[in-house]
């Protein structure tokens, strides 16, 4: 390979990494709001993403007749996954998670935390395998004209470098960034956002101030699931949907969230972006099958090498 080809390769993967990373960033924001507000590690987060993907797939047009046209359709469907999965998340919280993680149990020792940790593992298994029962194991894909048309950048540097930027992915990434922005404004400016942040900082003091902390947790859980599901929906137009896809992505999401610093929304988004870059750029040096391993190793390194940062947050609560 010539030097120019190398550069072209790197640039190509860099673009791919940024585009995927933006969506990962969105998914990480969803996870981060749940952890940030409730201190709940939600193992089922990947399954809510998977539900978002299936939702987008079916709304977009399993019927063969795209509901909102075949250009905008996938994106409208992805955004609609938000409110739908919000409802699912709120229901799951009300029926299951909230029963073991009320603000009262957060004041107790570790036992309550383990209960919810294991509970969300159960929910994850149930949703993933339930989806397998309902949808079958075969991967499904959304095909759109946008996703198969690239913008061509270049030739740059004389005739040597030619970049292909997938139009579908670019639109999806732009929407992801927009949703993150809207969510950040909601959290920073609205009364609801303020109440959620107060409940996150100190649930007892929030109760003293008249905030219904259990309700705040429920809303946070629903919002977190919804945001991640939108991410899943956006991903569905470039990656095939499968029932058991969630578990890989839960690690992707935690890697991003931990990388960016637990509890910080901006950190979560940047963390997700970084993970997208790591995943794509690792393809330059590693075989394809090891892309995910690169993420897991990256995750382990972050968790193991920066524990003081993690403990900083955990200890403040203790």
């Amino acid at each position: 390979m010539t030097a120019a080809q190398h550069v072209e390769n790197v640039l190509q993967f860099l673009v791919a990494g940024l585009l995927t990373g933006a969506i990962y960033g969105l998914m990480c924001v969803g996870l981060s709001i749940i952890f940030g507000v409730m201190r709940v590690i939600n193992f089922a987060q990947g399954e809510f993403m998977m539900i978002g993907m299936y939702f987008a797939y079916f709304v977009f047009g399993a019927s063969g007749q795209p509901l909102f046209g075949d250009v905008l359709g996938p994106y409208v469907a992805a955004l609609l996954a938000g409110p739908a999965v919000f409802g699912v998340g709120v229901a799951v919280h009300r029926l299951l998670v909230g029963r073991v993680t009320g603000f009262r149990s957060t004041t107790l020792e570790a036992e309550g935390h383990y209960a919810q940790l294991i509970l969300t593992l159960g929910i994850s298994l149930l949703l993933a395998n339930g989806a397998l029962v309902v949808f079958g194991a075969a991967p499904l894909s959304i095909t759109t004209p946008l996703a198969s048309t690239p913008w061509v950048v270049g030739p740059l540097h004389g005739e040597d470098i030619l970049l292909f930027v997938n139009q579908g992915q670019t639109v999806a990434a732009a929407i992801a960034v927009a949703v993150v922005g809207a969510f950040a404004i909601l959290m920073a400016r609205s009364r609801l956002g303020r109440a959620l942040r107060a409940a996150a900082d100190n649930p007892n003091a929030a109760v003293y101030m008249g905030i219904d902390v259990d309700r705040a947790y429920r809303i946070a859980f629903g919002l977190g699931c919804a945001v991640t599901a939108i991410g899943g929906g956006l991903l569905a137009s470039s990656y095939p949907v499968q029932p058991t896809i969630g578990i890989d992505y839960v690690i992707v999401m935690y890697a991003g969230v931990v990388l960016g610093g637990l509890g910080s929304l901006r950190g979560a988004f940047l963390g997700g972006l970084t993970i997208g870059l790591v995943q794509q750029l690792s393809a330059l040096v590693l075989p394809n099958q090891l892309q995910n391993t690169a993420i897991f190793v990256c995750f382990l390194l972050v968790v193991l090498l920066r524990p003081q940062g993690l403990f900083g947050i955990a200890a403040r609560r203790a």
Binding site: R104, T107, R191, R194, A195, R197, A198, A200, D201, N202, N204, A205, A206, V207, Y208, M209, G210, I211, D212, V213, R316
Partner: protein
């Protein structure tokens, strides 16, 4: 007849954590516009008493009436809306929220929302530093400033009863004096009822209408400030002399 009854009336209250009892048959009342002080050694149950009033701890027996209403039937988060402001031990401001946002959270009760513009000015007059630091994150304030914010946050809810749990804890003496002065001013100027847990016994008793001494979860002494200030028991309890 709400006007006739005490603002807060606690009768034979038992409470504790995870099966271990802490409070035994506590009876206590706060009349309108009173400043009532509760003193006692660590582990006597003072904070538990406050948490029980706020609903974070569920009592095993006894009654709490607030403004003539059965408080135990009210869910914890709804109690703030009735007019109870709990300024907890160790301040517990929301560290990642700005000073202004902390106050706004305090003002999210119904009464607090209505009176917010007026209350904000009052709070800023009492604690000018809070106006200066309005956009700063509460977690970056000094201990004394955080205590002022915690009290301001309580006041923002336009309470009928202000419950202060050791507001001088861990503060330098000069700062503690300042905090104490403001508490007295708040009580004098707004006629809000104040229930105060304090270890600076002399100051607390000097300004209080009445006081209670708690030991091992029981009220062992109660009376008006003069009577309490004269008892040797207080001196002994705190200094062993």
């Amino acid at each position: 007849m709400a006007e006739q009854s005490p603002l807060l009336e606690i009768k034979s209250l038992d409470a504790g954590y995870g099966g271990l009892p802490v409070l035994h048959g506590i009876s206590l009342r706060v009349e309108r516009a009173e400043l009532v002080v509760v003193v006692g050694p660590n582990g006597a149950g003072k904070s538990t008493l406050f948490k029980t009033i706020s609903g974070i701890v569920t009592p095993t027996a006894g009654k709490i009436a607030f403004d003539g209403e059965n408080l135990l039937a009210v869910p914890p988060h709804a109690r703030a809306h009735l007019g109870i402001a709990h300024v907890p031990e160790g301040r517990q401001v929301f560290p990642s929220l700005s000073v202004h946002e902390n106050l706004e959270i305090g003002a999210s009760t119904r009464a607090g929302r209505t009176a917010w513009n007026e209350n904000r000015e009052k709070i800023y007059t009492l604690f000018p530093i809070l106006a200066e630091r309005g956009r700063q994150l509460a977690g970056t304030l000094s201990g004394g400033e955080q205590q002022m914010l915690a009290i301001g946050r309580g006041l923002a809810s336009a309470p009928k009863l202000l419950m202060l749990d050791e507001p001088s804890m861990g503060l330098a003496p000069a700062v503690a004096d300042e905090i104490f002065e403001r508490i007295v001013a708040i009580h004098r100027d707004t006629h809000v009822s104040v229930l105060l847990v304090e270890q600076r016994v002399a100051e607390a008793l000097h300004f209080a209408t009445r006081g209670y001494v708690l030991e091992t979860g029981k009220v062992i002494l109660e009376g008006d400030n003069k009577a309490l200030a004269d008892t040797a028991r207080i001196r002994r309890a705190y200094l062993g002399m």
